[in-house]
Symmetry: C2
C-alpha cells in the first residue's frame, strides 16, 4: 500500500504533506468537526500553531484533501471510460478500478464521499463540479453500451447511480485486511455490475 504522504507529490514543504496525512487519518476516523487542529498538528509531530504556517485554516486542509481526492477519482474514471475495448469491457474496468480505489484509499475516499457538508460553500462548488463530471462519465459510458445493444438496462441514470453507489459505499464499510482484498473485490463487483446491466 502506498504511503499516504506520497499522495501529494507536488505539496511543499514536507511538513505540509505530513499535516495533510495526519488530517486524513483524523478526518476519516472521527470526522472533520470532531477533529481539532491540535489533533492534526500533534499527530504530525508539531505544535498546534504549525498548521497555520502551511494552511490558512482547518477548512483549507479539508479542501486540499477533498479536491485532490476528487481529481484523482475523476482521472481514474475518465481513463477507464476512454480506455480500450467495447463499452462492456470498459464498464468492468471502471467498476473494478473505482472499487479498488475506494478500498485501498478508503481513508481519503471517506473524506471525499462523506465530508462534503463540512466544506465551505465556495469549496463545495469546486468539488461538486468534479462530481458531476464523474457521474456524467459513467452515464455516458452506459448509454454507449445500451446504444451498441450490449446492455439491456432500461433506466440509464438509475443504473449509473447504482453503479456509483456500489463503488462509493465501499469506503464506508471497508477495513484493511477485509476479504476479499481490494483487487479481488473490484473484480467481483465488476462481474455483479455486468450482470446488473444485463451484459451479454
Amino acid at each position: 500500500m502506498t504511503d499516504p504522504v506520497d499522495l501529494w507529490p507536488d505539496v511543499r514543504p514536507d511538513a505540509a504533506k505530513r499535516l495533510m496525512a495526519s488530517a486524513v487519518d483524523a478526518f476519516a476516523e472521527r470526522g472533520f468537526h470532531a477533529t481539532t487542529t491540535r489533533d492534526i498538528a500533534t499527530a504530525a509531530g508539531m505544535s498546534p500553531a504549525a498548521l497555520y504556517v502551511h494552511f490558512p485554516s482547518k477548512a483549507a486542509v479539508l479542501f486540499a484533501i477533498s479536491r485532490s481526492g476528487h481529481e484523482r477519482a475523476l482521472a481514474m474514471v475518465s481513463a477507464a471510460a476512454a480506455g480500450p475495448g467495447d463499452p462492456a469491457a470498459r464498464v468492468r474496468d471502471l467498476v473494478a478500478g473505482f472499487t479498488t480505489w475506494h478500498a485501498t484509499r478508503h481513508r481519503v475516499a471517506r473524506i471525499v464521499q462523506y465530508e462534503l457538508h463540512a466544506l465551505r460553500p465556495a469549496d463545495f462548488e469546486v468539488v461538486a463540479d468534479l462530481r458531476r463530471r464523474t457521474e456524467r462519465t459513467v452515464r455516458d459510458l452506459i448509454a454507449e453500451g445500451v446504444a451498441d445493444g450490449l446492455f439491456t438496462v432500461a433506466d440509464i441514470p438509475t443504473a449509473a447511480r447504482a453503479i456509483l453507489s456500489l463503488c462509493v459505499d465501499v469506503a464506508r464499510w471497508y477495513t484493511p485486511g477485509a476479504k476479499p482484498g481490494p483487487e479481488e473485490l473490484g473484480r467481483r463487483y465488476a462481474e455483479l455490475v455486468a450482470a446488473m446491466l444485463g451484459a451479454r
Copy 2:
C-alpha cells in the same frame, strides 16, 4: 410523508419527541458534532436547558434516534425475508422496501448509517448487534435462493454486501422530490438486484 414526530409513538412527553425530531433534522444536515444542544432545543422552541429535562446528554439523543432507526430497519428487513413467495420474490420485496425506506426516511437513515462513529462505545455495541442481524438476514435469504437454484451468484457475502450498499447509499444522495420517487426507485433497484444475482 409521515411526520417525523410520529416515528416514536411511545416517546413521552410530546416535548421529548419534538426534541428528537429537531435533532434528526440537525444531525442529518450538519452531522452530530457540528450540531449544538442549543440548535436542537431552540429549533424545538425551547431554551437550551430543556433538552436535559428529557435526555441526560446530547449523545443520548443520538442513541435514541439511532437505536429506534436500526430497530425499524431490521424489523422491515426481517419481515420481507420471512414473507410469502420464493426467495427471488422475497429479495425483490426486501430491496424495494429497504430502498424506499432509505429514501422516504432519508434524514433518519443518514443518522443510522453515517453517524455510527459518534455513538459512545456501549451505545455502538447495541446498534452493531442490530446491524449484524440485518446483514445476516440478507445473506441467509440469498443463500436460500442459491440453494434453490434461483440465483447463479457465486460469492454470497459479497453479493449481500453489494445489495445492502445499494440500499444504504440511497440515504447519502437522495433529496426530496428526486426522480424516480421512493417507491418507483425501490422497484427499479429490486429489478437491478434480481439481474445482479442472476435470477431466472
